[in-house]
């Protein structure tokens, strides 16, 4: 038997229906000249660095730079152009398309009331310089980016995984990583808690949180067919009494006349 072919480079969910004549509209990109503050900022950057592309989208300027310039560009933005915050910094996975990560730095200037995005592309095994000396908020953002994408950062004082365990295999936000986790993820907790030798006895972890097993009486109860916890399923009908229908009274000592129900705030 042959397994059906599935694309391995991008295992994210895809629409099951697509109209091949439909062309997705684009969010318009406005020229930088349309905003005076952004235009003067870009002129300062252009004088010092190589700018690959720059435009304004939805009110925020996007500037593409060389990945080697990242520290200098951010230093210039902070010291000369008063962009005093690095609000966010992360990556986008384009490995399937071009073998690259797109890195973005989301900046904010509180005195100019402007937000801009510095972007660059790096190859999968390429190293990116840490910007932690310019903005300390990059400390955890870079760690998270390494954890989630495997982007290699140089010059970070404590480059360790942040959200996933230290010995986790692979980087979960890559498009090649399945949503339910890969083979290594199935065995991770079994190996941790019991040891590898128990793999045959316990079996792999169920990683699909939405899976329902009708024979499982540990996790699922069967209404009207109740059995003791973990016992095999039975088709014998059990009687359920409801309080509303005059059945068992669950709280035996409750006196209704003693209870006080407030209609509104005293």
């Amino acid at each position: 038997m042959m397994r059906p072919y599935s694309e391995k480079e991008n295992v994210q969910k895809k629409p099951y229906y697509s109209d091949r004549f439909w062309v997705a509209p684009q969010i318009p990109k406005e020229p930088v000249e349309s905003d005076a503050i952004f235009a003067s900022d870009l002129d300062v950057l252009k004088a010092k660095f190589e700018i690959k592309e720059a435009y304004i989208q939805r009110g925020q300027m996007v500037v593409y730079i060389n990945p080697a310039d990242n520290v200098d560009v951010l230093m210039c933005l902070r010291d000369e152009l008063s962009y005093n915050f690095l609000s966010e910094h992360s990556a986008i996975d384009w490995l399937a398309k071009s073998g690259e990560f797109e890195i973005f730095y989301q900046m904010l200037s509180t005195c100019k009331h402007k937000r801009l995005r510095i972007k660059c592309f790096i190859k999968e095994k390429e190293t990116l310089k840490s910007v932690i000396d310019v903005y300390k908020s990059a400390n955890w953002a870079e760690r998270e980016m390494y954890d989630m994408f495997g982007v290699i950062i140089s010059g970070h004082p404590y480059m360790k995984r942040i959200l996933m365990p230290d010995d986790w295999y692979d980087h979960p936000l890559r498009k090649t990583y399945p949503l339910q986790g890969d083979e290594a993820a199935q065995w991770y907790e079994i190996d941790k808690i019991f040891g590898k030798e128990y793999r045959d006895i316990i079996g792999p972890e169920e990683r699909d949180g939405a899976r329902i097993d009708v024979d499982d009486t540990y996790r699922f109860a069967h209404i009207n067919h109740e059995v003791p916890f973990g016992a095999p399923r039975s088709l014998e009908k059990t009687v359920t009494e409801y309080q509303e229908e005059g059945g068992v009274f669950i709280v035996k000592k409750l006196k209704k006349e003693d209870a006080k129900i407030l209609k509104e705030r005293p």
């Binding site: 994210q12 969910k13 895809k14 629409p15 099951y16 229906y17 439909w22 997705a24 509209p25 684009q26 969010i27 989208q57 939805r58 925020q60 996007v62 005093n84 915050f85 690095l86 609000s87 966010e88 992360s90 986008i92 996975d93 973005f104 989301q106 509180t110 009331h113 937000r115 995005r117 903005y135 300390k136 908020s137 400390n139 955890w140 998270e144 989630m148 404590y158 995984r161 942040i162 959200l163 996933m164 365990p165 010995d167 979960p172 936000l173 990583y177 949503l179 190996d191 941790k192 808690i193 040891g195 590898k196 705030r265």
Partner: protein
């Protein structure tokens, strides 16, 4: 040699037995004052912290990965689980980001209702902050008082959307429901009484000797630190930087209502406590202005955009084409234009940002959640150094971190 793959404590580069006055303390992740699952590895020199290493990830659910595998409307209830103390503010941040992405204008009544929900959530979050922070520091009474008032905010939200914790009270393109009958009256009752309650809290705490000793000059954040570490919200305004996104980059109708942005220049925990109290008063002020604005609006609560949003239920049930649209939008999802947005809102904790990169598919290509608590927790490694061990709990409580949005 320790076996790495067994569930035993495994600390590389950490020495527990030392001859000098140093000690390493593991704080959390099950510590009641760690506000969730924060684990801190504290290196102590006597009683002073000489190095702090926050360790997070115990509540990591991979929301960004989930978002890439969900249509936009499916993801909205997941955002409830980020900052679960004020769930509506996350719903709203996400809905606003998608609206910016597809370029949608929301009806005025929906805007008013959204702002009401946001401000009630802010009050609810601040009350929760005050209660747990005071409890951590040792004030039990304030915990009970603040939770009593928080109950009324939860009742209001429950009356509106039926949920108390995971609200999902905002939809992309508007709000699901109009305000129920009698809601405005109970809101009025609540906001008329709350200033008295806030006065009670302040009466208990403001001049309280213990409270002042525990908070004054503890957790001092200089403006430079706050900027460099990407602090936002009360953590930033507590350092004397007046930056409130509602004021500076107004969304919805925040440019039409009058309110002040409280700023504290003392930079310490006590200043941030005063700030939270004042912010609640400003929220009440906004809510009071919103009530007459609500009555002036026309009754539409969802935007009309058939390409992206389903028609109202009455139309779906009566008109064939609306039903077809609805079927396509539910089974396949809306397809926003190609492009990217980064949209920020002022959540009770600070700057809540949603970065969405859309490639024209029903699933976002990349969705990055910028949460204030993540950056505030990262800042702890510098903030805690030099403080006493007993103040660590006060500083964590004061930073107002919620683990749902740190680990996501």
């Amino acid at each position: 040699m320790q076996k790495v793959n067994r569930l035993k404590p495994f600390f590389e580069n950490l020495e527990f037995e030392r001859e000098d006055n140093h000690m390493i303390v593991n704080f959390g992740p099950q510590h009641p004052s760690s506000h969730g699952q924060l684990r801190l590895i504290l290196e102590l020199d006597g009683e002073k912290v000489s190095k702090a290493t926050p360790d997070v990830g115990y509540l990591h659910r991979g929301m960004e990965k989930m978002a890439e595998n969900m249509i936009y409307n499916e993801f909205l209830p997941t955002t409830d689980r980020m900052d679960y103390i004020a769930a509506s503010s996350n719903n709203y941040g996400f809905a606003l980001a998608v609206e910016k992405l597809i370029g949608l204008e929301v009806p005025r009544r929906a805007k008013v209702i959204r702002m009401m929900l946001l401000e009630i959530n802010r009050i609810s979050s601040h009350l929760f902050w005050l209660a747990t922070h005071a409890l951590d520091v040792g004030a039990m009474t304030i915990f009970l008082y603040a939770f009593r008032e928080r109950e009324y905010t939860l009742d209001l939200i429950e009356d509106y959307c039926g949920a108390r914790l995971t609200h999902s009270s905002v939809r992309i393109g508007g709000v699901p429901l109009d305000l129920p009958k009698g809601w405005i009256e109970s809101l009025n009752k609540f906001i008329n009484h709350l200033p008295i309650d806030i006065g009670d809290y302040e009466g208990l705490l403001d001049q309280n000797r213990i409270w002042k000793m525990r908070l004054e000059d503890v957790g001092v954040i200089t403006p430079e630190q706050a900027q460099s570490w990407g602090c936002s919200g009360p953590m930033l305004r507590g350092s004397g930087i007046a930056w409130d996104i509602r004021k500076e980059e107004p969304y919805e109708l925040y440019d039409e209502v009058e309110f002040d942005v409280p700023v504290s220049t003392t930079c310490d925990s006590y200043g941030r406590y005063k700030l939270h109290m004042e912010e609640m008063r400003q929220s009440i002020r906004i809510l009071k202005q919103l009530i007459p604005m609500y009555y002036e609006t026309s009754p539409e609560i969802m935007a009309h955009a058939p390409q992206y949003l389903s028609a109202p239920k009455e139309q779906i049930m009566t008109q064939n084409y609306a039903l077809m649209q609805h079927f396509v939008l539910v089974t396949q999802g809306m397809r926003p234009p190609v492009g990217e947005v980064y949209v920020v809102t002022e959540s009770p904790k600070g700057e809540l940002g949603f970065y969405i990169n859309s490639q024209g598919d029903p699933y976002p290509y990349r969705l990055k959640l910028r949460t204030p608590s993540f950056f505030h927790t990262g800042f702890l490694q510098e903030l805690l150094v030099g403080e006493y061990l007993a103040d660590v709990v006060a500083i964590i409580g004061n930073a107002n971190i919620v683990f749902g949005e740190i680990d996501r």
